[in-house]
């Protein structure tokens, strides 16, 4: 462990590498805060810079871009309700209400510090347990992954802002939308209504931008509300008191650890990690009703988890040669391009790669706080701008964000419709967040259920017999049904009293 630490710092504190990591952190935060530029896209955009670099330095640079972009995405999620990357969607739930109350600076402070802590914990876990964690993750077959996604879906029962029925409907609509397009197992088309544009399914980013950003601007168009200008035009990044940090210490730790582990799982990643941790913290909280109203607990869970997942996704890449997510796949291609033989022997033959990634993650997560504070300061100045200017700019950023995904105006159209539907949804009390959760987890849930059923020759019970799956399913069932049953009991008591 200490040798990894010393070697890692030895690599990243060489002047050339340090400057590169600093530069990587700056562009990572900037790319991450741009809607439509996902973390994997940020890493891809940084690829041309690594052509002349040595493999060890190249991976350190790309890791810095990756970690910083996840953090940068939290800035616009808090200030404008536009998640910079999909994994920042849960940051909007509490970050944006805080910004509206004039507490943008505090929300940003929590987001940055929790991101850094999450990233650093993930880096330590990666350096300490890389081979062991990979071995544990390999035990997760389709049945276990189905149970994990079901656990993520259990958040539906507590995302409700009034009616559980409405929240469940929203989540189910999200799950249904995830089935649109080519079925990945059989290759047949589902619910495309004869249009070619729906064949590859509904992309998540335009839907997410539409539901969050466009809906919000439409709400403000219908009923303009004032943001506390006096505080926000001055919105310096401020940090919560020690008492508040002390209160959320377990949230940060739990979310970082869960986030790291989810990051290791193939097909999961930062987005699922943030939703899962947000769920967990809502369930464990003494005041679950406060989640979504603008509390630092929600931001801490979301940002610690998605940064934890960045470290997690590097574990299978370094110890097994399997990329844990899209960004890791791009980094792997960069290593292959450099002639590095990625695979189980990498850590034994070239341990400097683990040291380099570890050192870069440590340094980036520290640098990132300072850099993101500066960038957030510039962004938060924008909050002082009147909404008659800010609203249209948010829409334009959303348009570019949706378009940049596939260079397609079809995605812009989808985003616009998602925004309009999001407005109707909010008008009738449905939950956009629940819909997004269904959309994010839908494919993972279905694909793994079908794989598990195939492996057990169609026997559902047989597919769910592993101890990990049973435990996860029991926890999911408890999380889903406890609030519903307690709600029913409460309603009956109220009826009896009246």
């Amino acid at each position: 462990m200490f040798s990894v630490l010393i070697e890692g710092f030895g690599i990243v504190f060489q002047p050339e590498t340090f400057i590169l990591i600093f530069f990587g952190t700056v562009i990572g935060v900037i790319f991450g805060s741009m809607p439509g530029v996902s973390a994997s896209m940020a890493v891809a955009l940084a690829l041309p810079f690594v052509y002349p670099l040595d493999g060890v330095v190249a991976i350190a640079f790309l890791v810095s871009v990756y970690c910083a972009s996840i953090t940068g995405g939290g800035v616009t999620a808090i200030l404008f309700k536009i998640p910079g990357t999909p994994s920042n969607a849960t940051t909007t739930f509490d970050g944006y209400p805080m910004a509206q109350r004039g507490e943008a600076g505090k929300a940003l402070g929590v987001s940055l510090i929790c991101s850094a802590i999450g990233g650093i914990i993930a880096a330590f876990m990666m350096a300490l347990f890389s081979p062991a964690l990979s071995a544990a993750a390999l035990k997760f077959g389709p049945g276990e992954l189905f149970a994990v996604s079901l656990l993520g879906l259990s958040v539906l029962s507590c995302l409700s802002s009034g009616s559980i029925t409405k929240t469940l409907i929203s989540g189910l609509i999200g799950l249904f939308i995830a089935t649109i397009g080519f079925d990945s197992t059989s290759g047949i088309l589902r619910f495309t209504f004869g249009t070619t544009s729906l064949q590859s399914g509904l992309p998540m980013i335009p839907v997410m931008i539409g539901l969050f950003a466009i809906t919000e601007v439409l709400k403000n168009t219908a009923k303009p509300k004032k943001i506390d200008d006096a505080q926000d035009s001055n919105a310096k990044t401020t940090f919560p008191s020690w008492a508040e940090w002390f209160r959320i210490k377990w949230i940060i730790l739990r979310s970082s650890v869960i986030g790291t582990f989810v990051g290791i799982l193939p097909g999961a990643g930062a987005t699922i990690a943030s939703f899962l941790c947000y769920t967990t913290e809502t369930k464990l909280s003494k005041h679950p009703e406060k989640f979504g109203t603008g509390i630092i607990d929600g931001i801490a869970a979301s940002e610690s988890a998605n940064n934890g997942a960045t470290g997690g996704s590097m574990v299978p890449l370094l110890s097994l040669g399997i990329p844990g997510g899209n960004a890791a796949a791009i980094m792997m291609s960069a290593l292959v391009m450099k002639g590095v033989q990625v695979g189980p022997l990498l850590l034994k033959t070239q341990p400097e790669y683990l040291s380099s990634v570890f050192g870069s993650m440590m340094l980036t997560n520290i640098l990132m706080v300072i850099i993101a504070m500066g960038i957030a300061k510039v962004f938060s100045k924008i909050l002082g701008v009147p909404y008659s200017i800010l609203g249209p700019i948010i829409i334009v950023l959303s348009i570019v964000g949706a378009y940049a995904l596939n260079n397609s105006t079809g995605d812009v159209l989808l985003m616009v419709f998602a925004g309009l539907i999001g407005y109707v949804f909010s008008y009738i009390g449905y939950s956009s967040a629940a819909l997004i959760l269904g959309l994010v987890l839908g494919e993972l849930c279905e694909t793994n259920l079908r794989r598990a059923m195939s492996l057990s020759d169609g026997d559902f019970v047989g597919a769910m017999t592993s101890p990990i799956t049973i435990v996860l399913l029991i926890v999911s069932a408890l999380l889903i049904f406890t609030p519903i049953i307690s709600n029913l009991i409460k309603t009956r008591k109220d009826v009896a009293n009246t």
């Binding site: 790319f31 197992t185 589902r190 619910f191 219908a222 348009i399 570019v400 009738i428």
Partner: protein
Amino acid sequence: MTLEILINMILTVFFSICLYLSTLLEDPGLDPLGAKKWPQVILVLLIALLISNIVQLYKKQKKDGESHSLKSVDFKGFFKSKLLIGMVMLVPIPFMLDFIGFIPTILMFLAGYMVLLGERKPVKIAIVSLVTTFVIFFIFSSGLSIMLPRGTGVFREFHMFLENIKILSNMKGVLSICFQF
């Protein structure tokens, strides 16, 4: 609440059609669950919950003594609202992007939406529209090499002329060379 019930009814009908369509899907039988079952389970649950929601809303409306008539819905107010204008302004954007390209579309949209949200100073509107459009254009088009919609004809030529002013990508090239040393 009548409008809410109506929207729930529309959703119920739509998802019922989807459920019917799911029965028509051809399943090659590659896996035990097939392509139909998962969406069918979702749709059945969805329709059941939508019906339950409609019943709940209807009961609540009756209890509150509200009218079930569609006349109780303020359609007139909606048709005169800024919200409808905002929605109408959004829908043509994707088509305009294809036809006249990024710069004219965004310039017009920004100016129009600012007026809609109550901005009345023409100089301010012009400056904000121009600066925002060109800053975003140069960041994404030149800096990140993301080709924004060019439009057709003269709009396309104008767009391509601006794309050739590669301020940020030249900077990126300089930085890349610096790192080689």
